[in-house]
Symmetry: C2
Subunit: 436 residues, 2 copies
Amino acid sequence: MEVRMVAEREHVVIVGAGFAGLQAARDLAGKPLDVTVVDRHDYHLFQPLLYQVATGKLEPQTAAYALRRIIRKMPNVNFRMAEATGVDLEEQLVEVSDGPPLRYDHLILAVGATTNTLGIEGVREHCYPMKTLEDAERMRDHILACFEHVSAHPQARDIEASLTFVIVGGGPTGVELAGALADLIRDVLDEDFPELAMEDITVLLVEALPHVLSPFEEKNRDYARRSLEDRGIQVRLETALESVSEGHVHLPDDEVIRTETILWTAGVRAQPLADRLGLKQVGNGQILVDDDLSVPEHPNVWVAGDLAGATDPDGDPYPQLAPVAMQQGSHVVRQIAKRRRGEPTEPFQYTDKGIMATLGRGSGIAELPIGPSIRGRLAWFAWLGAHVGFLVGVRNRLLTVINWVYAHFFRQRAARMIIRGSEAPRATPAEDVESD
Amino acid sequence: MEVRMVAEREHVVIVGAGFAGLQAARDLAGKPLDVTVVDRHDYHLFQPLLYQVATGKLEPQTAAYALRRIIRKMPNVNFRMAEATGVDLEEQLVEVSDGPPLRYDHLILAVGATTNTLGIEGVREHCYPMKTLEDAERMRDHILACFEHVSAHPQARDIEASLTFVIVGGGPTGVELAGALADLIRDVLDEDFPELAMEDITVLLVEALPHVLSPFEEKNRDYARRSLEDRGIQVRLETALESVSEGHVHLPDDEVIRTETILWTAGVRAQPLADRLGLKQVGNGQILVDDDLSVPEHPNVWVAGDLAGATDPDGDPYPQLAPVAMQQGSHVVRQIAKRRRGEPTEPFQYTDKGIMATLGRGSGIAELPIGPSIRGRLAWFAWLGAHVGFLVGVRNRLLTVINWVYAHFFRQRAARMIIRGSEAPRATPAEDVESD
């Protein structure tokens, strides 16, 4: 009898609990459907704050939130921690890494994006990506380990490479990371390592396009570049990487930069799951969807967030932003309801929430949907407010504010510690050279 | 000329930045000596809170504090992140893992203790120790992964083993961990996993002695045992482990407990460095010291904290507690000053600060140096106050209080997430069995 009751309710499987998937789960809570959220982690990650984890400003547990804590309040929603390895579209099954597949009546694919090496040789082996909490922690530990390495080996041959930090990619992620890294060095590490001269430290941002912050207006792009340069960051525009090798970045015209630290923010592509579905892909591997976000010929399969190959009415892809993902998550839930009622579905329409980026402590840019764009300290406060507001949970908000106050007024980094083990510079350290 | 100036000041090397080493560094700050603190981590770990990291109550960054942040305020103190691998007592050199050795005039050894497997077969391979931050995070991730595993495989054969948590060792560490684990399960996981029945979960504390909490008075030991039992923890006294194998704890009389989780708090011994010095060792590998804490025949080598094989005037070893370590760190610094002035040294005398332990949320025991011992809620508050007070840094204190309030009133665990990757139960999960 219980089996019959379960069978009578339609089952929605949401794959991925990022901004899109979690929003869909929230909107499905309390509806007469059974819902299962599948994610390989047991937490929701607030990706826009990853660069703060990578620079020791936030501990990882503040940029993440336990999924079961959210989902336990939704009686019709279950959580399954697993990696989704494939989808059988005919049998309507989601295959998972460690158990029997999950049957669905409606499927919401929202696994998001991963790092894109852009086919450049050596990127996978020698660069530090920043898409997961683990990535960000590894980046933080490595940056700190470089300073410890130089402090321990002041006469070593590779000091210059150990103190050269190259950020590849001048999009919002690369720009925010560069600003935060420059702050970490100037506010914290300069005092922690009094034996190091600041002028020996190089932070270099490399971007292939002729400007940073492509999604922003031209005057703001210029403002951003100048702000970064004012913080001592070298910005190289129109510079595409040729390749990366151990301890080296190869630029055009045989230019080589020696560095132990290449932070990769240059590209994203759809998670590998997208390649295993036999569906048409667009852009950087995103799944092609109709304008209602359903997959052509599979009206019960929906895609939301960074994985969705959707375009706006002008035919341009949507920006890969949290507000887009959340609106798509909600849209998909509304369309599932329409389909179940036999009504026609509607195209997805994005309500622009504006874009923001920080440029380091006390500086930012915000382009809001109405009014002129704002810059500098006011934009920075707007960024703080918006991001604290979007964080899940009162505790995380409170801790984030405390950590930011701590960083801003005391110029400290609460999470400035090598926690996962010291990944010393990757190149074999040169032997200490006795001073002649 | 700079070389001569450096050579003229005597150099103190402190190996280990736990309670003893850090206290010694603080007391040496501003003195006319050069000081180098060597530690394999770049943070000071507040060990008494490790069990809260292991049960998701605190994030690791709150139980630790960046050493360079403390040391930067001490102009004559330097930090060297490295593993000390040996000491050449004749040449007065501390050998480190990754560079030339450090010369010392005075040496303070304070590397503390590590896990002691007590020679029991299988402990190293199959138990989770809790001596480092990494240990505590691995323990937390494994405990949570066991619940995820059972939730994902409700029909698997190994459910009972996945929901049996064995804590070996009924000392303060084991008792505090058992209480915190029972709270985590009752307050958080019971609601996060509504499909699990609480009565299927077993928390078992195994102790070889006829009582828990040896350092405490008999009436308090009994109180502690009853308190743990009231929380649903099974307490097995006078039960020494025979051996451990994958998925099994072997007890006397061929009794076998099936479990995927063996949390090991049964013993500590001196860090392996102690075995490489060619010095006389006592107890669990501690270095034998004279009553002034110097090493016999090496008057410029001192030992403080858990590594010191010192005895009180009655000939009993000192308890391995933070107050003992801190007082020994201070004592050693005073004796170095006396020796430099040619004065006779003094024996170490411990000023008893009392002992405390928690027994889970809202319950504890405190035996203070004066007055009757206190128990229950008052002792729990005393424990909170003392531990917040001893934490390094205003931010860590504030965050700890927020996390505790969050845990106490909202019955939540801020850091209840699998961060380092899901260590699913170690035994190969049985295949899901179709219900017949």
